[in-house]
Symmetry: C2
Subunit: 337 residues, 2 copies
């Protein structure tokens, strides 16, 4: 088999950034995905209302090429009112993202977990109109390896308090999170990244310290990675792809205090193809990247297709000053021209 | 209290390196410690026999100033015979260090755990003549956070097979290792570093990724750190100080694949003083740094003294191209001139 053609996939978690990184790197997402959820936090200022979201959508569109559709989100703030939610929804914004205060990049000004109930009017509005709540599922102030587990209680409470609200636990990393998403109602789903399927802490601090494999939530134990692999190959529609591709300039990674984020956009679909093929589960790839996410979001499936060719290539060591995931490594599949 | 004078301490685990790093940094150890165990692995070639150890001792002496005494060690190799051991002992070498093959810097050519029994003649000779066996206690091929726990079985076997051999489990990092050393016979002791007393994984990968806090064995969970603090403040003579101070040029830390090692030499005694004072256990510092180690090694206690002055200073961000532990932070105690 020399080529494979699948339904055009979607990426339900992307950091497009802004300025030069956006201009020079957005095409990498657009050439592999029909749509992508644009994260609202890692630009300055973050996307707070529809008045931020619309120009940002236009900017992404300008640099991402024909036919690509960015899906916009707001970052949840203490002043995210039902009116803000409804106004954004009317303009096509599909979700609101919650970052517990202090937990990741640009989350210093977020809503603390303790005050989340003050946002219940916004969540009610979202539940009414069918807007999704996306969660960075880590509890601030907890030891790094336990943050996701500690946050599951918040997930359960939100799920119980808003039985009609669609919730996505983003970039899950632990067996415990897989188990929680399995057992919670059908309103709860999770995104899984490529790098969390492949890496453990051994790839970050096992031999040398590898800042380009560092992200939040940090990758965990081998048994956690295995639980994620099981989730994506089980065919359960609660688990779908979100790359969390997050470019940082090399100097912001290779330094005394390196930033969190793995830049997987250049290799996402080729490497996923290779990964699923190695597992002997190639038939599970299409629903994971092209169906389950769209269905959960209530979007039509993409009409187009994506073709990959079995033609080995070496991943460049740099794109616009950013070192990609698997830099210098050979990948067997590539995107067809 | 503006000054404190204690018995001159010893550091039972130091990487002096060689060449420029040795020439420019050895004085930092010598100004705080009467003696220091010189690790045999991180120079090229490593210290394999007495013929390597003697010139290395002379080189350290040349750059460390009056009155300082380096204590020499050999690195264990497949060809470390009883004759090698006896020859080294006769020349004053005090210990042999075992690095399981592949487990840390320059351990690619070591002895695998599976073939350790082939070295039993050497261990018997060491037991006979009173030479110590120092262990890098991590099991290769195991997930990074579990390597020390997996190695404890090897420690127990060696302890059982050589009841008269003095064994030091170096730079312990987990509650499990503390417990094992407590319960094993009096022939087994452990060194504890400054940075393992202070750091957890939150200081390496909790927010940013911090290569200058990365070492092997990697720092662990808060409860592991607490177990180490309890061990050093309990007054149990099985636990004594070994800094594992390990300078790397900044460019070897702040890069895509950063080296393991924390350079604590510039701050060791001042920070230990501050640390024990904060814990309200200042009386436990003297035996931890000046008595228990010497007694375990069978060395006389140092005759000299070390005086520290309560006089805040800011740790320089660089010594000879190496970034020290706590760079840029203020420490309340300093070594008296």
């Amino acid at each position: 088999m020399d080529t494979i053609t699948i339904r055009m996939p979607d990426d339900f978690h992307v950091h497009f950034r802004e300025g030069e990184l956006l201009r020079r790197l957005a095409y990498l997402v657009a050439q592999q995905f029909g749509r992508a959820i644009a994260m609202p936090n890692t630009l300055n200022p973050p996307i707070r209302t529809v008045d931020d979201a619309i120009p940002y959508r236009d900017e992404i569109l300008m640099h991402s090429g024909n036919g690509f559709q960015p899906l916009m989100t707001l970052k949840l703030y203490p002043d995210t009112t039902p009116e803000v939610v409804r106004g954004a929804h009317a303009a096509g914004v599909v979700a609101v993202k919650y970052y517990p205060e202090g937990v990741t990049t640009n989350a210093e000004d977020g809503v603390s977990v303790g005050r989340l109930s003050e946002l219940y009017p916004a969540f009610e509005a979202m539940q009414d109109i069918g807007m999704l709540l996306l969660l960075h599922g880590e509890m601030p102030g907890v030891f790094c390896l336990d943050r996701e587990a500690a946050f599951l209680e918040v997930l359960r409470r939100l799920c119980s308090d808003f039985p009609g609200l669609k919730i996505v636990l983003e970039h899950i990393t632990t067996a415990g999170a897989v188990e929680a998403v399995y057992t919670l109602p059908a309103t709860v789903a999770a995104t899984i990244t490529l790098h969390h399927l492949e890496l453990t802490l051994d790839d970050v601090i096992g031999d040398k310290i590898m800042p380009h494999n560092f992200c939040k939530p940090v990758v965990k134990r081998p048994q956690d990675r295995e639980a994620l692999c099981y989730a994506v190959t089980s065919g359960n529609p609660k688990f779908f792809f979100g790359s969390d591709s997050a470019p940082h300039p090399i100097c912001a990674k290779e330094c005394a205090e390196g930033c969190a984020g793995v830049f997987t956009a250049p290799v996402a679909m080729p490497r996923l193809m290779e990964f699923f093929e190695t597992l002997g589960c190639l038939t599970k790839l299409d629903p994971f990247v092209s169906q389950f996410g769209a269905e959960f979001y209530g979007l039509p499936l993409n009409q187009g297709t994506l073709t990959l060719v079995r033609e080995p290539w070496i991943v460049p060591v740099e794109y616009a000053g950013v070192r990609p995931y698997l830099a210098g490594r050979t990948i067997i599949w590539r995107i067809a021209e």
